[in-house]
Amino acid sequence: MTTLRVLAAMSGGVDSAVAAARAAAAGHDVTGVHLALSSNPSSYRTGARGCCTLEDARDARRAADVIGIPFYVWDMAERFHADVVEDFVSEYARGNTPNPCLRCNEKIKFAAVLDRAVALGFDAVCTGHHARLEPVPGAAGLTRLVRSVDPAKDQSYVLAVLTNAQLSGAMFPLGDTTKDQVRKEAADRGLSVADKPDSHDVCFIADGDTRGFLQRRLGSVPGQLVEPDGTVVGTHDGSYGFTIGQRKGLGIDRPAADGRPRFVLSIEPVSRTVTVGPAEALDVLEIDAHRPVWSGCAPPAGPLDCLVQLRAHGEVHPAVCEQDGDVVRISLREPARGIAPGQAAVFYDGDAVLGSATIATTRPVGSGH
């Protein structure tokens, strides 16, 4: 095994601590780094929400000290705000549903951080992501992503946006371990973060109130809730507060004619219109996704049979994909519901990631081709 100079990103959580410990135990020359992503970090973690508070920085430092590696804090707050937070807000303003973790991996962890690490002489960035890396069959020197052995914790979906170049600079020591095993190992290694709760939801919205967060930044943009035939059924304060497939919190003042629940079908921020309708109207068979990244295979020349995952922790759907320029046309074999533009479509061959693209438009069942 070659000894690598590894930069271990340590959030203060148990996964990244164990990942760093494993890299060091494997004999690599490891340096721990905590990314300060907030210009105004709060002092303490409150339960499972939020991340990268001052307490998290201290936990990461303590873990690095226990492991016996140097530790530094890198200030990425400005880049993070520009590339992740602002993108999050503007995507919602456009009527899309973004995935900020994806953007962070794409622009911060495996771009800004990886670039800086390489410039400073490191060979790889190690994180606690639950995913595996393996050589691409038949493509010498290329690395692809594979799901973690723990399907409930698998994070290949948010990593699939990475290119081969980025993956070649990545290290994911936890992919072959379940979350329970990771916690046990943390305890065995004397890492006090073994019992720390995992962080959920959006790391920069500590109170979990995404709508409130967006409202403070986008303000009140009133509009109408309408049925597909144009009937106005209510008003809203900002179309950014909705996502495709949403059922709760619609604020509709009267029940549907057929008495069945309504779901958000589409969001049009320009006209400030949110269209709601019955569940069947959510059925989608065709999706256009753009900006494809193919890391597990060459860009497909013709139709490609694969499995596609359309949201984080979502199920996989058998599909046929075809690339035309910057667009990947995805034809699902069975209809799927609640497909939101802005999310990633990740293409799998079994557990291996072939590539990913960003969902742009969807075509409901029964619409013309």
Binding site: D29, T31, A57, Y72, V73, D75, R116, A119, L120, G121
Partner: protein, 393 residues
Amino acid sequence: MAPASPVYLDHAATTPMLPAALAAMTEELAQLGNPSSLHNAGRRARRVVEESRELIAEAYGARPSEVVFTSGGTEADNLAVKGLYWARRAGDPARRRVLATASEHHAVLDSVRWLAEHEGAEAEWLTVQPSGVVSLSTLADAIGKDPASVAMISIMWANNEVGSVQPIAELAGLAAEHQIPFHSDAVQAAGQLPVSLAATGATALTITAHKIGGPVGIGALLLARGAQPVPVLHGGGQERDVRSGTLDVPAIRAFAAAVQVATERRSDEAKRLAALRDDLIAQVLAAVPDAVLNGAPPGPGRLPGNAHFSFPGCEGDALLMLLDARGIACSTGSACTAGVAQPSHVLLAMGADDARARGSLRFSLGHSSEQADVDALGAVIGEVVERARRASR
């Protein structure tokens, strides 16, 4: 990247304990006695304290009763700034202005800010020249605006980041003319320069043990007889009611031992350090010709062991990390917020822009420094700066 043997160039942060201090402390740790007690054990402990006090007092131009032991420099600074302010203002409510330079150590800076935010003080930050030195006219003008409204003045003897030495005797003299209490943080100066309470006529001086080869956790406020700051710590009334708390006898004994050695060697040591430091500067500039030496030029106006550079096109924390990986310890010299290096407030006060303030390193020498340390730095600084420039955003 395991280093051959570590090279320590951060003596301004802390310095190895002198063998005499270590021996004195170790021996004393095995002894019993609270110096406040009236019995035999207490008397024995008190004798150790008082002998230490006398030695330290003499070394720094003070009477024994003018030495107030504290837990270190930060506590002494807090006691001086807050205590003298409160006392002055209590005597005359119009006295609310606190004058301090913008380049003070955070123990003074933050104490002054706290007084301004919570105790009705008016903080006035004296500007420093690009060399880091505050001019007499700056202080005179600041006082002159309304002398009767000034509660106290605090100006550090020598700056911990860039090593610039202030004209303390003259500044203290100005304050004395207006009967304004004058405090100076002499933490970095003691041990390298002749520090004296009597010679300057200052009201209060801060010193600490661990910068001169004593243990961490013990320092002193040299407090002129007659000055009666409001205490920060209340309790058993130790240190003539100014600073309560059981005295740390082993640490005090070690403090005195360190002061004794440091004072004996000060003059020769200053020459030795200055020569090493000047060679360090030469080697760095040879390897990195566009490096900028910050602070006063080498000479009597600068701490003999201090060298501080800005390296254009680099981030100080990248430089620090690269040197650390090569076994060389130094400092960016600036305070950390959540571990993220902030641009040095001292450099900003000297007129540097953000980039220069961020791309700086402080190298500081001490009693255990040798030529080999300087050569080790000289050998790698060129390639380290090269790499840090590549990594720059």
